[in-house]
């Protein structure tokens, strides 16, 4: 049987953070992210994709943009996305897998592709992209989002960065032609109808594009909506696409040493805890950069000079034994974390905490004391276990070579109960 790669790897720092002062403990990174003495320092190369988007703006501008977009992540909106867009598409995607049954009667798939398909419609719904309806259009949309993600994370690419930017800007033009422009046109027409009093406010779609054009700010350039939309499309899919393969790999390994837990895959609370561990150990954004607005001395005495750009390394911070216990480097779905979120810094901190976090973790995460949704991770992983997911023993998963991210590039699976 082919050997599998280890589930936990040591990842060397990517070239774009070499030479910067690095911070690696949970406490110091938490302090930097909360502090008002720093501004965003990430995404300098990916400015063509993210410039002036929510990700790269600070202070009052960030507050105003976040206020405009927050209704997209209100409880009612999250419930709508999950029940109307996500869950039906998970079922439909798995149903379509039956058609690819092999001669041996077994259904095989690449989990990475399957996940992007399952998430396509929820990404389209939150952003406001029309026409992701037929299998062909869903495939085309999924491929656009996948490629836009390559541009969004160009800093981490192992390819020539200028070539990646040039290629993905051309892809974005095609995406504009095939999906974005018509989606914008329909929404702008509806907004005009609303302003003329022909339709009510609640007849307008609740999505990013509508929000941007309904509350248009003359300080924005015409390219802002597609940059903000690309951010939403990538962010809505990236975390779950990144995390589910790690979750499946870890649980597979865990069940070898804890066979009594195998039956617990039907327990959504168990899956949720396991998913939190996968999120904690394998960060979709393993490092963020910040720039000091003034000379700063942290609580531990370390100093940062005015305008110094520093790197916050989330992977070691999320494996910090001071916060997560002596076995912090290991996967343990029974881990008890009381002082911080169970996923640690995976969604960032301070004002730049990921606005879509609840889309992934749901609103019923155990530290939230709330009810409402389970999030993309638990819904998808539960459906996969119900479909009898097993890692293909003859074709083990492999990590991506296209980036410095701790991400799987291929993850062949069997769906034994389809």
């Amino acid at each position: 049987m082919p050997t599998r790669e280890p589930t936990i790897r040591e990842m060397p720092p990517p070239p774009h953070i070499v030479g910067l002062q690095h911070f690696t403990t949970y406490a110091e990174i938490d302090e930097i992210l909360r502090s008002r003495n720093f501004r965003q320092g990430s995404h300098q190369e990916s400015q063509p994709f993210f410039g002036r988007s929510l990700l790269t703006i600070d202070g009052d501008e960030h507050f105003e943009r976040r206020r405009l977009e927050a209704p997209l992540f209100a409880k009612a909106a999250l419930e709508y996305y999950e029940h109307t867009e996500l869950i039906p598409l998970i079922g439909k995607t798995l149903e379509e897998c039956r058609d690819s049954r092999g001669d041996d009667g077994v259904v095989r798939a690449d989990l990475c592709v399957l996940l992007r398909t399952m998430l396509a419609r929820i990404a389209a719904a939150t952003t406001g992209i029309d026409g992701v309806d037929t299998p062909e259009r869903t495939t085309a949309f999924r491929e656009y989002v996948e490629q836009l993600g390559t541009g969004a994370t160009v800093e981490w690419s192992t390819e020539d960065h200028e070539e990646v930017i040039r290629r993905i800007l051309a892809v974005r033009d095609d995406f504009d032609r095939d999906f974005f422009a018509s989606s914008v046109a329909r929404r702008r027409a509806l907004i005009e109808q609303f302003h003329r009093g022909e339709i009510e406010r609640d007849e307008l779609p609740v999505d990013l594009i509508t929000m941007l054009y309904l509350h248009w700010n003359d300080d924005w350039d015409d390219g802002l909506p597609i940059r903000e939309a690309c951010l939403f499309l990538v962010a809505a899919t990236q975390t779950t696409t990144h995390s589910v393969p790690h979750l499946i790999a870890h649980l597979d390994e865990w069940f070898e040493s804890h066979p009594e837990d195998r039956a617990r895959v039907a327990d959504r609370e168990y899956i949720k805890r396991a998913a939190h561990e996968a999120l904690r150990l394998h960060l979709p954004s393993p490092a963020l950069l910040r720039i000091a607005n003034e000379d700063v001395t942290l609580g531990n005495g370390k100093t940062i000079a005015t305008n110094e750009r520093v790197a916050c390394l989330f992977t070691p911070a999320n494996r910090d034994p001071e916060v997560f216990g002596a076995d912090a480097r290991e996967f343990n779905p029974y881990r008890e974390v009381t002082t911080v979120k169970p996923w640690g810094l995976t969604f960032g901190g301070g004002e730049h905490i990921c606005i879509g976090r609840t889309l992934v973790t749901g609103l019923s995460a155990r530290t939230d004391n709330d009810e409402g949704t389970d999030g993309t991770l638990v819904n998808i992983a539960s459906a996969l276990y119900e479909a009898g997911i097993e890692i293909d023993p003859d074709d083990p998963p492999t990590y991506t070579e296209a980036s410095h991210h701790d991400a799987y590039g291929r993850f062949p699976i069997l769906l034994t109960k389809l």
Partner: protein, 66 residues
């Protein structure tokens, strides 16, 4: 029928001290010297409901309950 009056709390283990709550609902929340948000009126009048709801949704760490 239960008591439907607003009862607002902030989970200080989750609060990041960003202060958006104070900006949208200044009669209910105030950032303290400890850089955390504090509820200054835990049972605000009904007229504050929309502001509290917005603060809860806008809170980056979702630390507000009501």
């Amino acid at each position: 029928m239960g008591d439907e009056r607003l009862h607002v709390t902030v989970d200080h283990q989750q609060c990041q001290g960003v202060g958006y709550c104070e900006r949208v609902a200044p009669r209910v929340f105030r950032l303290g010297d400890d850089a955390l948000s504090h509820v200054i009126d835990s049972h605000p009048p009904e007229s504050e409901r929309d502001a509290v709801e917005e603060a809860a949704t806008l809170c980056p760490s979702r630390a507000i309950r009501y």
